[in-house]
Amino acid sequence: MSKAYLTFCKACFTIENMSSSTENSGWSTKAILTVGSLGDEASRRYTNRSMWALLAMVVALGATAKLGSAGKLLNMAIPGAAFAYIAWQFRNYLAVADELAKRIHLEAMGWTYLIGIAAGIGLGALAKGEGWNINPGFIILLEPVRAGALYLVARRYR
């Protein structure tokens, strides 16, 4: 029996043993659906910082709500600042994410963008026709859409 054949048999045996659930599992579904990230180390850092930013935003909104006109200005600026920080952290996360994670995120964002454009144009036309007053803050609803797209895209690479 040749040495090459023995090596091949050993490799096949090892592959069989390697086919455990941990080797085949994909990205964290919980992280994808709850916070819209893939659950890797870099994304956990991004999620933690985002949560702290959101908490700080709520506290700051509460603190400035009862102030005078200066407080009102601050109150309007705080959400924008908080979400700009979160966007910056997301950019930092993508910069260090590995190539497959980047690809999954970009594909998910591409789908979210297309859905957002379609929904925005459709709702905008409806709102104009019906005289609705839609709060632009509803754009945050694109975040669960992104999480859903992330889930569907990540499934393809499992």
Binding site: T7, K10, A11, M18, E99, L100, Y157, R158
Partner: protein, 81 residues
């Protein structure tokens, strides 16, 4: 594109996590490459080949046929006039 990554990893007794760490990618990326669901970038393919001391084409097969080498023709017949 098919590849022999799983076989090579088994020959070297590496887990997906071990290989992912040495390549600087996530374990899910190694898994996706092994199952053929994701084709790595050229830099990553070079890294993988270097990891096992092989050429890229020894590990990855795109199913492309190499073109037949051109028959050597008489230099005088191909000269541009």
């Amino acid at each position: 594109m098919t590849n022999k990554l799983r076989l090579l990893r088994a020959q070297y007794g590496l887990s997906q996590a071990d290989l992912a760490e040495s390549l600087g990618v996530s374990r899910q990326t190694v898994n996706a490459i092994e199952t053929g669901r994701y084709d790595p970038s050229l830099p990553l393919a070079f890294k993988i080949a270097a990891e096992f001391g092989l050429k890229i084409e020894d590990i990855f097969d795109a199913g492309l046929k190499a073109p037949d080498p051109r028959p050597k023709s008489n230099p005088s017949s191909t000269r541009v006039r």
